[in-house]
């Protein structure tokens, strides 16, 4: 039995002192990020690395190491990925994947979801002035650029849409806060959802949303 006890003590020591040196952890993060086409969260990195590793710290080092190189360590939402430097895109005609051309309606709907998220279908219709076709939303869902968010706590509890990590990855955004022109739009009050005065004609017969509370989520998402 004393043998077993010795062994246990050893294990304890392992967990206390034997997390890999940070240079080694950096190599591990490097290998995992290189291997994956999809962004990997810090949580998942830690889960795959030996006990006691600190992927977040290793990432800081790794990111610096790849500054100015042909590939970069980029942040995508709460995950990390390695992507080629955009200035070298011209070398990659071979790798270019022809993405399905999005309709104007789809592009506008996507932008509205990105800048106004979480946003209901009725709110999108209010902004665009026309009803949103099912196909448009379906297409964006299928591309995994948008997903369902929380339901609004308004009558009818309508579903909301938010953009995904895939969206951020595709457009090279660290977070939804980095959307181009977001600050200007907010300063100009264009992200506020102003309730239309009575008698105003409205687009579509979307869900009956209480517009007063419609923009509550927006601030939540973008405020730090």
């Amino acid at each position: 039995m004393s043998e077993d006890i010795d062994k246990e003590e050893e294990n304890d020591r392992d967990t206390l002192f034997d997390s890999p040196p940070i240079a080694e952890q950096e190599r591990m993060v490097e290998a995992i990020l290189f291997a994956s086409a999809e962004p990997v969260t810090v949580q998942e990195l830690n889960a795959r690395m030996p006990f006691g590793s600190d992927a977040a710290e290793a990432l800081v080092h790794l990111r610096k190491r790849y500054e100015g190189r042909g590939v970069r360590v980029v942040k995508v939402g709460d995950a990390w990925a390695i992507r080629t430097a955009p200035d070298l895109g011209f070398l990659m005609q071979k790798e270019t994947v022809e993405t399905r051309k999005l309709s104007r309606a789809a592009i506008e709907t996507l932008a509205i979801i990105a800048y106004h998220q979480p946003v209901t279908r009725a709110e999108i219709e209010e902004i665009r002035g026309v009803s949103v076709s099912r196909g448009t939303v379906d297409q964006l869902l299928e591309m995994e650029w948008i997903r369902f968010g929380r339901r609004k706590m308004t009558p009818g509890r309508p579903v909301t849409f938010v953009v995904t990590q895939g969206f951020l990855d595709h457009f090279g955004l660290e977070s939804a806060r980095d959307l181009p022109g977001l600050k200007d739009l907010r300063a100009a009050g264009l992200l506020e959802s102003r309730p239309p005065p009575a008698l105003m004609p409205r687009a579509g017969e979307g869900e009956d949303v209480d517009e007063e509370e419609a923009s509550e989520g927006q601030s939540e998402l973008f405020e730090d």
């Binding site: 990925a81 932008a111 457009f171 239309p196």
Partner: protein, 260 residues
Amino acid sequence: MAEDEFEEDRQSVSERLAAEALIVDVDGFEGPLDVLLTLSRTQKVDLRKISVLQLARQYLAFVEKAKALRLELAADYLVMAAWLAFLKSRLLLPPDPSEEGPSGEELAAHLAFQLERLQAMRDVAARLMARDRLGRDFFARGIPEDVTRVRKVRFTATLLDLMQGYARIRTRDEFRPYAMDRDAVWTMEQALERMRGLIGFAGQWTDIASYVPEGWDSDPARRRSSLASTFAASLELVKEGRVELRQAETFAPIELRRRD
């Protein structure tokens, strides 16, 4: 600047195009708000300084033109026309203090806000789509190495398992042959055996239910099984010519009598 020199010309071209589009291609517009936004561009001013009154007039003219050309206009276009006509009258007439609801200026301001917001969304959408994009300007790993899943089985047991296992050995019951649990089954053989011994006394018509063994009539499963086997045994005895059966009507008791 040279650009300014061409401004006038270019505008007139785009205006002409817009006018043509308005006339022939109503379907190309995404609803009344889109038309209004297009019309507002002909005012050549910042959307914040737009004349909603002028815009209302332009829109109404557009609807009139479409009507003259017998174009089918969707209901939203007509609703918007009616509303703009109403807005126009509010903007033109001095405010009536007895009137309820928002003022013409408030309505106009909101319309201007909607147009500005829609234009802003279109602008950022264009900026978004012009960004460096994954799969076009920058690229993900070409040969991803998939994470292989290694399944590791961990066996476990509880103290109860252990005790039961030991108990099993000590009672040597592990070679008990497999048998269906027959606690609630009264077989036809059993019924036949029981009835053979009893029918000698059945000189009178007797309900076959009375041949169900004692203690088998309370539990539903046992009652069902014993009744079925008693009935089947009765049929068997009829076949042998030892008894006869009768039933007064559907669902009435089935009675049995010895055949002499």
